[in-house]
Symmetry: C2
Subunit: 911 residues, 2 copies
């Protein structure tokens, strides 16, 4: 028989799937001998059952809950609903993965008009009892009964009543309310519920409990939770558990309090306990971010004993869980109770730094340090930061608006918006925005995702804003009390400055400074060290970065190459670990300087001879480009793709430009080339394509205009020969784009080898070069065995392969991609994460067919997926030789490649 209810001591930390994260953490702490208020967990199986059976419970549940309740009553020596000695409970959700603030919580459950008197009596504190009661009525009324604002602009109905009572009582703060005021509040709340919903507030404590349980399971499918799961790819099938726990009170006066914390700094990764507390308060006050709490270090002064205990528990938790924990505690009349522990979310930057530290502390192994951080987080080490001189100047100029708490490192600027919907909308039309809120709530996550950075007036380091921002890797400042936000006017007043919606603002997530205008940015510390602008020994960040990435390199099998078109990019890529250039787009070179002039002359040519004349001008320039690239790559392979885009891309576009701008551009080009405007317009007309993505491009250009390919091949090989003549190592690889048939590959391989071998013989040098192809058409995958007869390497162009395999133009997804991800037709955008099932299957086919023909076929990927961790993992799995990505994604790819290798080894061990 399935067991549906676990008392805390019956579970353990490994039972996350069944008990959820919170339940498993409470069980583990209980077993570790840490004081945890007793209680029990309703398993995630119930949630699954609930949704599979029309929102009803298994028959045996009621009996099991009764038994668990009785056991808690026995341990505590109090009774649930006993008017004389009442036992109170909190009821909270707790899924397998943490979903901060997404689902619902009820505190002080078990209070009614009778038990409140009992609580008053046993605590000797009627004010406390009634304060607890009015809080319970508020939460229950909102969460279980559903009395909520009916629109975004409407205020919370409970808040309205509270404000009115405070005003009438002349009480500026909640704490100034008297017992009578609180009694009146409870009555007014209940009246409001009766009036608005036609419901009587339940006096029966069991009815209260089942209502709360229903709300918890129900909250698994609320819009916020669904949106959150989508964002973090949490399957709906996991379900949530529900924890019923004895209430302890942090609001029983000045010897009570409550707090939350992290065993390390979750924003910067520093190894020190980090957190906040509020005296005489309940836990939700801290997490909600409504009151700005005090830093945890001050607890040492406020309650030294509790602080000491907390430090001990912190050490116990870290050494037990071997990872940073995020915890909640409550102090009830000097007694410390732990309410939660779980692996804490951290900024990706902190995750990487922390992993390095923990290895040094001996807490985790080197492999664990490599496996732990999300590979994507490596990008944070390279993200631009504010230019220090410019910032100093801005501050000198009086542009420092305010300071808050640093909750997400990095520098970000954007135009100010005051709500999440605007953030999404502005982003959609191409604006950079900063989202500014009094505090954020789960409804805001999409907007947070759309923003460059987040700034809140209230809340601490563990507030919703801070937590979510860290997880998203966003720049974030919280608790910036100086902000005076007026949502209705869409503006805020900050130290006498008025900041309106749309104004530019900069926020520094390292220092928590809020600065007027757009601050110029500068390369990150790591890049500064690489550029020689900062000493390695002065940058702990750099040292940690190097340590982690060096470890990663020990474990990865995949090589990591880069997509680069200039010597400068190539140099940076080599510093960042590139072992080759996987894609040099020669067309990029065609746009530089006055080259476009010759390119246009070539396009306007009517004969091969005219074309060759124009190409003769381009030849020495391309050759110089390649010499530069080869030298920068110091002998690593340099894969150069022949001209790829359709020729019309080099002429003005009637669709992209407004009519006047188009006319003007045409007229300018006509003048430059000494032809009439009609000639230009006619050529534009002739080159126009309905679907340029599927048009006259790639190797098709070289079939119709072989002289273009010939010029490029000559430039590639002559450049290499000249470098070789200087005695420098060089490895040029010629890549043919958009190949779909073996005949194309044969045509270009023969052309390339004929030209190359002739040049090499002429120079009399030793030169190793390869001729291969992009695999970017489904047909190429299908006939990969044949193509491999002539191709010495394959490089998956997964951007185009995704477009053609899925029949989706990357430029034309605006109308449906959001709906597709929303409706789970795509698990994620296939242009961001490689579509393993479809595109991936074609890749596997190409790999296996290609290798069948040519066992030593070199295979890589140069689509943008090459820098995306899950795609890198897939490339590892199917046995590619390298991934190629943009220079700044190299550390991500290196770590992802190492993680893929380590996971594979672990998986094999498990087998």
């Amino acid at each position: 028989m399935t067991k549906y209810v676990y008392e805390f001591h019956e579970g353990n930390g490994k039972m996350r799937e069944l008990l959820g994260g919170k339940g498993a953490g409470l069980a583990e702490m209980t077993n570790l001998g840490i004081s945890v208020p007793p209680g029990f967990t309703l398993t995630t199986d119930i949630c699954t059952y609930y949704y599979e059976h029309g929102q009803s419970y298994p028959a045996e549940l009621e009996t099991e809950v009764k038994a668990a309740l009785a056991e808690v009553e026995r341990v505590m020596g109090r009774k649930f609903g006993d008017p004389n000695n009442p036992l109170l409970f909190s009821v909270r959700s707790g899924a397998r993965a943490s979903m901060p603030g997404m689902m619902d919580t009820i505190l002080n459950l078990g209070l009614n008009d009778k038990t409140v008197e009992g609580l008053a009596q046993i605590t000797g504190n009627p004010r406390f009892a009634w304060d607890s009661y009015r809080r319970f009525v508020t939460m229950y009324g909102d969460v279980v009964l559903g009395l909520k604002p009916t629109s975004k602009t409407e205020e919370d109905p409970f808040e309205v009543i509270l404000e009115r009572v405070k005003q009438e009582a002349g009480a500026p703060f909640d704490t100034d309310l008297s017992t009578q005021d609180l009694q009146r509040l409870v009555k007014l709340y209940k009246d409001e519920i009766k009036q608005k919903l036609g419901l009587d507030f339940p006096e029966d404590v069991h009815q209260q409990l089942w209502g709360a349980i229903g709300a918890v399971f129900g909250s698994w499918m609320n819009d916020r939770a669904i949106a959150y799961r989508k964002l973090y790819e949490i399957p709906a099938s996991w379900g949530t558990a529900c924890n019923v726990q004895t209430m302890v009170f942090g609001n029983r006066g000045e010897t009570s309090g409550t707090g939350v914390g992290f065993t390390r700094d979750p924003a910067l990764g520093t190894n020190q306990m980090y957190g906040e507390f509020l005296m005489n308060a309940q836990g939700e006050d801290v997490v909600a971010g409504i009151r700005t709490p005090r830093p945890i270090s001050e607890l040492a002064i406020a309650m030294p004993d509790s602080y000491k205990q907390l430090v001990e528990i912190r050490d116990k938790l870290e050494s037990h869980f071997r990872d940073m924990q995020d915890f909640e505690f409550t102090i009830e009349e000097d007694k410390l109770w732990m309410l939660q522990t779980r692996t804490g979310k951290r900024h990706p930057f902190a995750a990487a730094r922390m992993a390095v530290d923990m290895e040094a502390e001996g807490l985790i192994s080197e492999k664990e340090a490599v496996l732990r951080p999300e590979a994507d987080g490596m990008a944070a080490f390279l993200a631009p930061i504010f230019d220090s001189k410019a910032k100093a100047q801005a501050i000198k100029d009086g542009n420092l608006l305010a300071e808050g708490l640093p909750a997400g490192p990095g520098g970000a600027f954007g135009r100010v918006v005051f709500n999440a919907t605007d953030a999404e909308a502005w982003k959609a039309r191409g604006e950079k925005v900063l989202l500014i809120r009094k505090f954020t709530s789960p409804e805001d996550i999409r907007g947070m995702d759309a923003a460059q950075g987040i700034l809140t007036a209230q809340g601490g380091m563990t507030s919703h804003a801070a937590l979510v921002a860290r997880q998203m890797g966003k720049v974030c400042i919280v608790g910036c009390a100086a902000l005076n936000i007026d949502y209705e006017k869409a503006e805020m007043v900050v130290n006498n400055h008025i900041i309106k919606e749309g104004d530019w603002l900069s926020i520094d997530g390292f220092t928590a400074e809020v600065i007027l205008g757009q601050l110029p940015t500068t390369p990150s510390e790591v890049l500064q060290v690489f550029a020689g602008q900062r000493k390695a020994e002065d940058s702990k960040t750099y040292q940690q970065f190097i340590k982690l990435i060096t470890w990663a390199d020990k474990y990865r099998r995949l090589e990591v190459w880069t997509n680069a078109d200039t010597p400068k990019q190539a140099e940076q890529a080599v510093q960042l670990g590139a072992q080759g250039i996987g894609l040099c787009r020669t067309e990029h070179m065609f746009f530089e300087g006055d080259r476009i002039h010759y390119v246009r002359r070539m396009i306007l040519s009517d004969t091969k001879e005219e074309r060759e004349e124009a190409l003769a001008f381009l030849f020495p320039m391309q050759k110089q480009d390649f010499i530069g690239l080869y030298k920068a790559m110091k002998g690593f392979p340099v894969t150069i793709r022949l001209l790829d885009p359709p020729l019309h891309e080099f002429l003005p576009s009637r669709e992209a430009l407004k009519p006047e701008a188009f006319k003007e551009k045409v007229s300018q080009i006509a003048k430059e080339l000494g032809v009439t405007e009609e000639v230009i317009e006619e050529r534009i007309e002739a080159l126009h394509e309905s679907n340029p993505m599927l048009g006259h491009r790639g190797c098709r250009l070289g079939v119709t205009f072989p002289e273009i390919s010939q010029m490029q091949i000559r430039a590639i090989i002559e450049a290499a020969c000249e470098v070789a003549k200087e005695g420098l190592p060089v490895q040029p690889d010629i890549m043919i784009p958009v190949v779909g048939t073996v005949q194309e590959m044969k045509y270009f391989a023969e052309m390339s080898r004929r030209i190359a071998d002739e040049i090499i013989a002429r120079y009399g040098v030793e030169l190793h070069y390869l001729v291969g192809t992009m695999i970017e058409l489904p047909r190429a995958c299908v006939v990969a065995d044949k193509i491999a007869q002539y191709a010495e390497f394959f490089s998956f162009g997964t951007n185009d392969l995704t477009q053609t395999a899925c029949g989706i133009s990357r430029d034309d997804t605006k109308g449906f991609m959001a709906a597709y991800v929303e409706k789970e037709i795509f698990a994620s955008d296939p242009f961001q994460k490689l579509d393993r099932e479809g595109v991936g299957e074609l890749m596997k086919m190409a790999v296996s067919k290609g290798k069948a023909t040519r066992p030593d076929l070199q295979i890589g990927i140069c689509g943008e997926h090459g820098g995306e961790p899950t795609s890198v993992e897939f490339c590892h799995t199917i046995g590619l030789d390298y991934v190629s990505c943009s220079p700044l994604r190299l550390p991500v790819a290196r770590l992802a490649a190492a993680q893929a290798a380590l996971k594979e080894a672990l998986g094999e061990k498990e087998k």
Copy 2:
């Protein structure tokens, strides 16, 4: 050891691959006891060797040729190069497949200044001897030595000299030239060769022979031959043979002659010997089409004995070869010699009719009759013909210009052009052209292919023009002597009418009438019978058509469905054998009448509600459409595809229209819909796509606007229920377009079944329907096993599948497709013939994966390949259930399907 030379009696008719068609035919005739001038064949192996060894011959060749020569000398009792009793030869190419006029021929080889005297002496006819000599020098000078016009406008240098000598001699015709004139000609020709080429004409007969052999093998790679092979997909690797045959002379006076013929009429298929002859002439005079010969029936009067022999041989050949033969003969002083026999090329229309006749005659079996005609030829039975009333009126109006010989049946009109290059160029810019030439030559084939029809002033039914036109299935009239063509002026005078380039002309290939202007056309005889406008018993064509197609239906396994959008199309399709509708494009219905108004209202809707309101107007119209279709299809399945094209196709296109036209259209629509022009333009802007082929279309529309799909599904099923309520049979199938993922299929299958089952229950009828999908994306092929979980049928949309698999937009091939076919990167345009290697492989994958999941999965094809014979064969091979094509292609598909089944059975038998 390889044998390189076969005397005629050593070979046989089955050795086509080795001896070429001509060589095999000569061998077979020799063995049949038909009188054939003795000779020998140099095999195609030599041709292959020649091109693989830098144009040199195998070492043993010379010895073998010598031996064969000696044997002929022995049989003929004459000697090659003997001044007293010279043996003369013809040297001709002869490939495995007939390539009329593509390669070179030399006659009278073995004449020189000495042997000419010997020939004069033994024939007693010096004029004949010198006439033969001057012909030989002309041919050899042109073909072997290469004295040709250097430009298209330059006249043939031999012709120039001939004209001069004729003028000086006062001789209007060649036959008026005296022996002295001819002697002078030979001298002048040789001088010209010496002067222009610096070569002495070879006196050594062996040097002559090897020169001629070299020219024959060399001609395999001349431009014309290459172009011809491309057109008819003849591999270059086949090579040509070379036949060396004793000369017999049709030009030895009034008891000599030469002719060519067919055992039946190759244009109309009638069972009567067909051909032409010239008295006192050599064979090339007939084939070249320069002199208009006399019909073969007149030979009965001119040379009754030879005619009788010829009729006997004709019967012998037909009963021996069991197929129509095309033959050449020469009568030398009353002795009939056969020079060639081979299976004759025929107009596709004739091929079909002939097959039916031959079965009736007991010459071939029913299966052979089905296998023999090219399936494409069935389209000729349905091609429009001229409207008889209109033609009568045109003739009454004096618009009948002239009459010629009917060489290709059908009615065609077009604008007059006078050379092949123009025909190609005009066609390329979208014009319909008629190609008019004095006579055609192999250089003209591309232009002939580009023309609607061909009209020549000279040449008979076996002239180059007639032969090629028949093979291409073109409408053609030859030998229309009234045409007086002036190439330089680009005009012709015909019975006092001046016809200039660009004028419209009509030609009737059945009656050989040339008529001024564009004659209106009318449906073909077969379609007239179907339409009840002509009685079946009055139309032999109809009867033959029905007979053949009925046989075909006995043998085919594939069902044949149709693509139809209207009841009228559906009715015609059923008459033409459709067993279902494989594709009804609902968007076609959206354009009819005032519907486009509501479609546009829907597109301009901002909310679901507005969209639903517009859709409510469309619903009853769509429903009526479907009722009409169902009734027309009488219970056959009707596969209806949900809306497919991107919505912008229903609004004016800024790219397709000129700015003013666009403005005007927008303004008109704005007025109609009662909105501003800005609203329309903004929506057009918003819907604009870079690659609409890969954009927001197909089922993607239904994911974002489910209400559109829902309306269509409702209309499909309600219409079916109403038809069923009337007690009529009906089978509606719902087809989801552009599916790439199982999630899409699931979404639409569930939506369809939910809506359908609700409606069916409401109507209380029995209704069987299927839900399935187009397979038109590579990804769909890859995940076909998953898609088949929800799809009850697959229908390959091979147009789009080809576009996506090959990454080629069908609309954008203009820049490179010609070069691709030219350079043999594609064997043929993959949009015309299914690309088996690429697209076909994906189809096989989809079939096997789909059937693995759902063994009874129904699979068809509804792309345009469904009516193309080689593609139909492929569909048969991979086990599809049906092909669906446009109504007029149904007979082609039926015959192709039968041929595929029969070929498969033959193939299995062979195993």
